[in-house]
Symmetry: C2
Subunit: 330 residues, 2 copies
Amino acid sequence: MIELDPKHDRFLQPLMATLEQVAAIFERQLASEFPAVESLCSHVSRYRGKMLRPTLTLLSGVAAADGDLGVLESDDLRRLSAVFEMIHMATLVHDDVLDEADQRRGGETVNRLNDNETAVMLGDYLISNAFHLAATIGDADLTERIGRVTNTLCEGELIQLHHRDDLGLDLETYLATIRRKTAVLVGACGQLGARVAGGTEETAAALGIFGEHLGVAFQIRDDVFDLEGETEVVGKSVGRDLAKGKLTLPMIILLDSAETVTFADAVEAFRQRDASAVLQLLRDADATGKAIAFAVEQVEAAKSAIEGLPLGGTEDLLRDLADSVVDRSH
Amino acid sequence: MIELDPKHDRFLQPLMATLEQVAAIFERQLASEFPAVESLCSHVSRYRGKMLRPTLTLLSGVAAADGDLGVLESDDLRRLSAVFEMIHMATLVHDDVLDEADQRRGGETVNRLNDNETAVMLGDYLISNAFHLAATIGDADLTERIGRVTNTLCEGELIQLHHRDDLGLDLETYLATIRRKTAVLVGACGQLGARVAGGTEETAAALGIFGEHLGVAFQIRDDVFDLEGETEVVGKSVGRDLAKGKLTLPMIILLDSAETVTFADAVEAFRQRDASAVLQLLRDADATGKAIAFAVEQVEAAKSAIEGLPLGGTEDLLRDLADSVVDRSH
């Protein structure tokens, strides 16, 4: 779970207790009479990390209910939180296949532990169960909205694949891609969490925008970890973006601002998949620093989106949650 | 589309016209503003083949509505048909990744044309869109049932992967696997097609059982094609089951009935992935013939499931459809 200041304990304690319930729903949903399926799902449960998506879903529910912690008892809200975590897990499992990654949350990935085929099918099992669980909430409109979110998410992944090794990728396309791939889902946590808790349209929309900005910031932070982090600290394979020809914000900033000679060096280092040369060039140009600054701007935009809204005392916690998306060690 | 006797034209003509509308819904659902996504979806549209699933969905609707062809105008029934075809397409795209197949419906597979990563994500895009389209029907219970079907389908695929190279795989486990992997979806076409058309519980249940038996028969026929068919005739890569260590009914029958020497030869040929030796042993034992006979029994069981039910004059067509699942050249 995300680490936040104990001053928020009035909200954090019940939130953490509810996340346990969300985890129980998650596991119950994936239960199978077949031991082979069971053991795969247990392995995936180990991937559970910061729980950003269910945390934001629950917290948005509380905020939209004017701070009433009673909404955490809502089975619909808990299920919705589990749905978003399950969708996220499915993308992790399939991303690991795409990235040929070996490590995830300090353990072996499914593709490494079993094989790519099993990882593809396990991801499908998670997607299917996420939709099934969403449908059990019994609100067709909600299910449709979730389907729209995952359509967008998959489009984002396809566009990203399409731009592999595209050194002409511009900032606008990069942002449109990570918005689709990552931010729209986090936005849905805010928006639909508020909606299921009975919040107003205005509050739901604002928490949706809050979540989208958080999602963009989160992805940029992750992209920087992938470039300069260490597997032991980050807990998952790093250097995968470069290895797979995936251009992210620091590299886009570098290429955009570089003089002719540096530009040629950067292109060459990228093409050669020379991680240390790329990192040196990024550091010389302060490109990772500028990328983090961009992420911080997104955090500030998130805070602005909820400014002045009555959120039942959760305002401070939401702001700290926003900051934590960039200020994290892994 | 499945080829059937022109004597059924009273039903077949409107069915074929409606399948065109179903195809239009399918394409509209997958439309994307991104050319890269668009072109992938157009490629997948080429995979459209026998349209067994949407045909059975529509026909079950007509049968459940006592032969009233007016139900073919129902947008819900058309969408449901498109949903089932889309789920099927998603499984084809991911199966081709799993099987490392090159050919599908006489053209290149997505994994071959692009790469495995794109095929994984395109399959996800299809699954997501199938659920989204299902949710637009606006019936939460229906969406939940569809989710349950795809949960089962993925479980079937995972169990199949688990039993790769398991020469001790018995008939019961094989049948339980193909039931989950293939038959439950075809059963849902019958059952939910009838349900959406306003049929009685009894009719829907009977058409569900009809579809399940058809699904089992269809899978066995496909498994035999994979062993003894030719790519040019079948239109897709063959010999993939053996190449991937997948035991299917003919091989199970062979191993089950073989004398000691033949058994050892069969195990050896299977382990060596020696397709011609496997085929020779299967032919000597008439194992593919016995597998087809088993499939024919399933077709007969399908017919029995709807015997005596009032189906508005579609009885004959349903029986011919059942026969066509085994009596086909590809």
